[in-house]
């Protein structure tokens, strides 16, 4: 036995179905845990509420990202076409009234910037990419992307206790309860 002290990440428990996970989640939520998560191979409808999660703030980020795109496109078009180097093409005005011609690009850049905001905002919110995680050390956790349903309660949670939490997981229907340790840094 190694005497190295390992930091505990938390307990991982498997649940037999989506329904079981759902019910367990409600119980964990009601028990007042905050640092925990449910793991499933697909998004389970209604689990957010069961876990007591708030709605994602991503839409707000994307809205501002999109607006940035609109403004960028307008400024790009307006400054280059009207301010810096106006050129007479097909007798069209070189002032603000040429705006209709900018709409397509304003639209496209809005979408483009929104798309990028979605991507990067999502990654930031999910704190991904994160290649190493204590949970990956668990053999059974592999099934979380196949057909396994898991709950992991983290040691960081103030309600976490070495024995109580394990028992709690068992109570709410978890099986194969496993202590997850963090890798040494």
């Amino acid at each position: 036995m190694s005497t190295t002290r390992k930091k505990v990440y938390g307990y991982l428990a498997e649940f037999k179905s989506a329904s079981a996970l759902y019910k367990a989640a409600e119980k964990v939520r009601d028990a007042g845990f905050t640092k925990w998560d449910c793991y499933s191979p697909y998004p389970i409808h209604g689990l957010d509420a069961a876990m007591g999660l708030k709605r994602s703030i991503l839409p707000y980020m994307v809205f501002f990202g999109g607006m940035t795109g609109t403004i960028t496109a307008f400024l790009l078009a307006y400054t280059t076409q009207v301010v810096i180097y106006p050129t007479v093409v097909q007798g069209k005005p070189t002032n603000f009234f040429t705006l209709p011609a900018f709409f397509p690009i304003m639209f496209e850049l809005t979408i483009l910037f929104s798309g990028f905001t979605t991507l990067f905002g999502l990654l930031a919110l999910m704190k991904l990419p994160r290649f190493n995680h204590p949970l990956f050390a668990s053999k059974q956790f592999e099934r979380s992307t196949d057909d396994g349903f898991f709950i992991a309660l983290e040691a960081r949670d103030p309600k976490f206790s070495a024995t109580g939490t394990k028992d709690f997981l068992g109570e709410i229907g978890g099986s194969s309860i496993e202590l997850i340790e963090e890798e040494p840094a």
Partner: protein, 497 residues
Amino acid sequence: MAHASTTAHEPRNGPKLPVLEREHLILNNRSYHWITERICGIVENKQPLLWWILFIPSALIAMLGVGGGLTLLVSTGVGVWGMTNTVFWGWDITNFVFWIGIGHAGTLISAILFLTRQNWRTSINRAAEAMTIFAVCCAGIFPAFHVGRVWMAWFLAPIPNANAIWQNFKSPLLWDVFAVSTYFTVSLIFWFLGMVPDLATIRDRAKPGLRKMLYGIFALGWRGGNRQWSHYEMAYLLLAALSTPLVLSVHSVVSFDFATSVVPGWHTTIFPPYFVAGAVFGGFAMVLTIMIPARAIYGLHDMITMKHIENMAKIILLTGTIVGYAYLMELFVAFYSGAIYEMEAFKYRMTGPYWWAYLAMMSCNVISPQVFWFKKCRENLWVIMAVSMAVNVGMWFERFVIIVTTLARMWLPGDWKYYSASPFEIILFVGTIGMFLMLFLLFLKFLPCINIAEVKWTLRESDPHFDDLNDHPDDGTVKIPAYQHELPETTDKGTTV
């Protein structure tokens, strides 16, 4: 090791909840694991011989057609193609619009059907999105390389430069540059994000090694926690919401290339909706053309069901009819204009030197989909395949008719000239077909071709209240022996019971 499917269900106490019977999107009561096995198996197992038979020629064609064709083109000049000083665009832009059109079905299936909660999309959306990406790749080759000086194409990018000169933001072509690049980027993001959980599935199933590392990198460390799923679903919804207008805008902008010009036969306000409908039409035809064989080869009948195919046939019928309406409306508008230039542009389309192209367009696009009024035809894969192929051909001819026949007979009879494509144009087009197939086959080999997570989500037992329903005597039970023998023998035994 416990397995969800082997666990007996506890009957729920309480009143019986009324549940509407839904049609099964996935047949034969397949389990989560079966789905995982089936889809990941395609990636994990050796490819069937047919894959190689298709891949090797398409890779060769892609190399020779695209690689060779472009080398010749760039080293020698656009003159190796058949364009003239009357018909300045020929197969190049025809092919561009053709491929871009095909690229519309993917994002449309993903995005619009997602927003409209058409759950049947889940089985086909991944492949359709991949098609989008590959079709846009093929499409991009044409406008990029049809220019006279491709090495100067960076002039299209608004980069601050010592020349202090900028782009013309009034040009539909510049709009095109932005639209197509945005479309490609957003489609790629959409496709990739959708794939992350599935890549994680493959990662988790893979044996340690380079393969696992690579899938690991692209899976970004996905863990499937609900705190991730929560944001992820929001992001997916947002992307779908963004992509929907984007899809509509891209082909509208492509149509602006024509509609904002002064060319009789191009200068038409009907073009944007007409092009979008045409793109959806052509896109679905291509999805069918690809998916029907893939379904047969990989045995995906339970996931891509006849319902999927029939739905797509109905969409083809609908959009084909819209396109047919647009064709007729064009003629009417030209007639109604009272201008000789407009009227004759269409007269010469129909009866002029390229009458055969118009005939091909009309018969393939308007007449052939009409068979889908009959359910028998919608259910006969051979008929569907034949119509899809006809629509692919017809949509190519539509673009050819719009571009070439118009330019060849424009305003002044003194400049009328007949255009015929040179072998090099044909080679490049064939090359892009090869490239498209090659990329698609690579996609089948290396990436999950069906959205695993979403398909699981469509199963009835994915409902968190599924266990509460007491009127599901057998639905939750999976008959293990029924599928076990279907599984390939190389399946990792560790994951089965």
